[in-house]
């Protein structure tokens, strides 16, 4: 009998930690820039301005730099574990990363400084990188033997990512050509919802279907609701998008509402699924990562409740529009990814550092790699920041939005310090002194 070698990999078919690791590191850089950017654009947010280049630049730090970057990194790790196939080409994964990072940086700088050249170079690089990732993932998905809910979620999300890119390119071009005219706001709203619901939420729903029951020990939970979400949200996003961009006056009125109905149904299904996982958990006490995720689900629920009011009031209430985006994008999606980051990244770093010591020496727990109390503190800062920004925008108080943005940035700084702590303790193995572990497992 033979035992196949592993070439230093965590498991068969899993890429080296470098590929997801570089995505996670870059994602953290963009998250910190985005958090600092919120302080910078606080006066514009408080004034209910969302068509400003500064607001657009900061928003893309979160969408392209944090959410999309982190999802790409997570995908490379998730595909072999959840679907049984490795990424088709790890090399293409690295190439797309090194094209995507400067692309996002140039695009954000180009939008913020209204530089046409930087914007076009940036979007060209982003398009090339996204095309590489979509092709790479599609080739992997073709080889998956059993096409389950996670597989479907990735396919749906990738399709919407491509559509997001096309709409984004159209909007970027419109800044010079003004081909959209007064329709710009509607195309912008379509671009935003296709990106946040079709791309990010669908991917989160698929990944959570695997990760939440695993981390919550909720294997006996009813899992039918993810499927509902995967059906309702895409239909809703397509209807909503068609309704927003059509010039037909009859469809113009009905389609967005029909789309909204499906989208709301899908989000509620996703939230019910999350709640069922949390309810079926075997450990009542939640750790920091799962608390972040739970808080994010609450924010997502609030954003979903505000959605119909936004559609009724349209562009007449820009304060509400901005608060809605803060609740959904930063409170719901970005915070959820922070929570998953707390679960996944320390685990992968721990595996890489201690895999050879397990069973042979005393090893710390994953939770001991970072401070639970600091993680809980950062959650308090983040929640206060998101709530403060939302309320501040609604009442038009610059001081409150600024203060809340500072609070949010402080929470992000604490979060990043925690991840750096994990990186130092695992990458620089010599710093971890196993004998220093106390009998209670506390880290000295």
């Amino acid at each position: 009998m033979t035992a196949p070698g592993m070439s230093g990999l965590i498991m068969t078919g899993t890429p080296s930690l470098r590929l997801p690791g570089e995505h996670f590191a870059a994602g953290l850089v963009f998250l910190s820039v985005g958090a600092a950017g919120l302080i910078w654009i606080a006066p514009e947010l408080a004034a209910g301005v969302y068509l400003s280049p500064h607001v657009a630049a900061v928003t893309h730090c979160f969408t392209l730099g944090w959410l999309t970057m982190t999802i790409f990194g997570a995908l490379y790790q998730l595909l072999p574990v959840a679907l049984g196939v490795p990424i088709a080409s790890e090399k293409v994964g690295h190439i797309s990363f090194w094209v995507y990072v400067p692309g996002v940086a140039l695009f954000v700088c180009g939008v913020a400084s209204s530089s046409e050249r930087l914007r076009y170079i940036g979007i060209a690089l982003i398009a090339a990188a996204v095309l590489c990732v979509v092709t790479n993932v599609a080739m992997s998905l073709r080889r998956v033997p059993t096409r389950n809910v996670i597989w479907a979620a990735i396919v749906i999300a990738m399709s919407f990512l491509t559509l997001t890119l096309l709409l984004g390119a159209l909007l970027a071009d419109n800044l010079q050509s003004n081909v959209l005219g007064a329709w710009r706001v509607r195309v912008l709203a379509t671009h935003l919802h296709v990106a946040l619901l079709g791309w990010v939420l669908m991917m989160i729903a698929g990944i959570s279907h695997r990760l939440l029951p695993m981390f919550l020990l909720a294997h006996k939970a009813d899992t039918r609701w993810t499927r509902q979400a995967l059906i309702l949200v895409p239909i809703g996003v397509v209807l909503l998008a068609c309704g927003l961009v059509t010039r037909n006056p009859q469809l113009h009125g009905a389609l967005p509402w029909l789309g909204l109905l499906f989208v709301e149904g899908g989000i509620v299904s996703f939230l019910i699924q999350g709640a069922l996982f949390f309810r079926a958990r075997k450990r009542p006490r939640l750790d920091a990562g799962l608390r972040h995720a739970a808080a994010a689900l609450v924010f997502l629920g609030i954003a979903a409740a505000v959605g119909p009011i936004v559609l009724i009031r349209g562009v007449t209430d820009t304060h509400l529009d901005v608060a809605y985006i803060i609740l959904g994008l930063i409170g719901g999606l970005s915070l959820y990814v922070v929570g998953q980051f707390y679960k996944v990244v320390p685990f992968l770093a721990w595996m890489s550092r201690f895999r050879n010591d397990m069973g042979k020496k005393s090893v710390p727990t994953v939770a001991q790699l970072y401070s639970q109390s600091v993680a809980n503190t950062d959650l308090v800062f983040l929640v206060i920041g998101i709530l403060g920004m939302s309320v501040g925008v609604l009442v038009g108080a610059v001081w409150l939005v600024t203060l809340a943005a500072v609070c949010f940035a402080a929470g992000i700084a604490l979060f990043i310090s925690q991840i750096l702590r994990v990186a130092v303790r695992t990458s620089l193995g010599g710093l971890w002194r196993t004998p220093a572990l106390s009998p209670t497992g506390a880290v000295s």
């Binding site: 035992a3 685990f347 397990m358």
Partner: protein, 284 residues
């Protein structure tokens, strides 16, 4: 009554037959208890696409000529025109040798209860096959010889070995053919017939699961990576000649490569609902 329509041939898929005349569903389904599941629509969608007339004859232990005559009779086609095609039928690989290649571990999958309840185990089988690592084999337990599956698996680069325990109890081992690895696309080995995969270096099936003292470790209520840590700790102190039985709620994907690295052997039993049992031992 005779007609000049194209006669049914041994290589015809059941789907093409059912497309021609739905009466053939009942006619074939009534031939054996295993084929009765063709009356079930979801089951039929899967089986009919991959099962040939020749395979049906083998499943029912009916001479191919007789089956062709009956089937063509339903369509009003004379037996004579069908008879010539029966002679041209390619021989099906029987695959009944009790021989396996060397392997590091085997994955257990029992679909007998699934089929008895009218369930459709195809996706579970393909899922288990897809998760096989290099050097692993799938041990499938079924209530009949799953002949249609052999061709499907051969296209994916898998050979098979069959053992009949009783009329309604069969064991089939699926293993990667020489040259096909866990990370290779199945199409690479698609042209290789199953018979060519039968290895010369074989081992008796009785050696697969060692009869040794068992140490049980239930890790279902532990959050990752605690199950892995506890398992590896338990293995370090495992008495010589014993087997560690890990009770888990899913296949421990991160643990398996570490076990291989450290020279352990394991089998994975996924036959129980909501529970996976991994037997781990070291050859002393």
């Amino acid at each position: 009554m005779t007609t000049s329509a194209e006669p049914i041939k041994p290589s015809d898929k059941l789907q093409s037959l059912f497309d021609r005349d739905e009466r053939l569903i009942d006619m074939i389904a009534s031939r054996s208890p295993q084929l009765a599941k063709l009356r079930n629509s979801p089951m039929r969608r899967i089986m009919a696409r991959v099962t040939t007339v020749q395979q049906v004859a083998r499943l029912c232990a009916v001479p191919l000529d007789v089956l062709l005559r009956d089937l063509n009779g339903v369509l009003g086609i004379s037996f004579d025109s069908a008879e010539s095609s029966a002679k041209d039928a390619p021989e099906i690989e029987r695959g009944d040798q009790v021989a396996l290649p060397d392997f590091s571990s085997q994955v257990e999958l029992d679909v007998r209860e699934d089929l008895a309840r009218g369930g459709e185990p195809f996706s579970r089988i393909m899922s288990a096959v897809g998760a096989l690592g290099d050097g692993e084999v799938l041990h499938l337990r079924a209530p009949f010889e799953p002949v249609p599956l052999f061709a499907v698996m051969a296209k994916r680069g898998f050979g098979h070995s069959v053992e009949r325990h009783a009329d309604d109890d069969w064991s089939v081992w699926f293993f990667r053919q020489d040259g096909a690895s866990a990370e290779e696309p199945a199409s690479k080995a698609a042209s290789e017939p199953a018979s060519k995969a039968a290895p010369n270096h074989s081992k008796p099936i009785a050696d697969v699961t060692p009869a040794r003292p068992e140490v049980r470790l239930d890790v279902r209520n532990l959050e990752p990576p605690e199950p892995m840590v506890h398992t590896l700790e338990a293995l370090e102190s495992l008495p010589s000649g014993s087997v560690l039985l890990q009770i888990n709620s899913r296949v421990p994907q991160f643990l398996l490569p570490i076990l291989r690295e450290r020279g352990f052997h394991f089998t994975i039993d996924k036959t129980r609902p909501d529970e996976v049992q991994v037997s781990i031992w070291r050859n002393d």
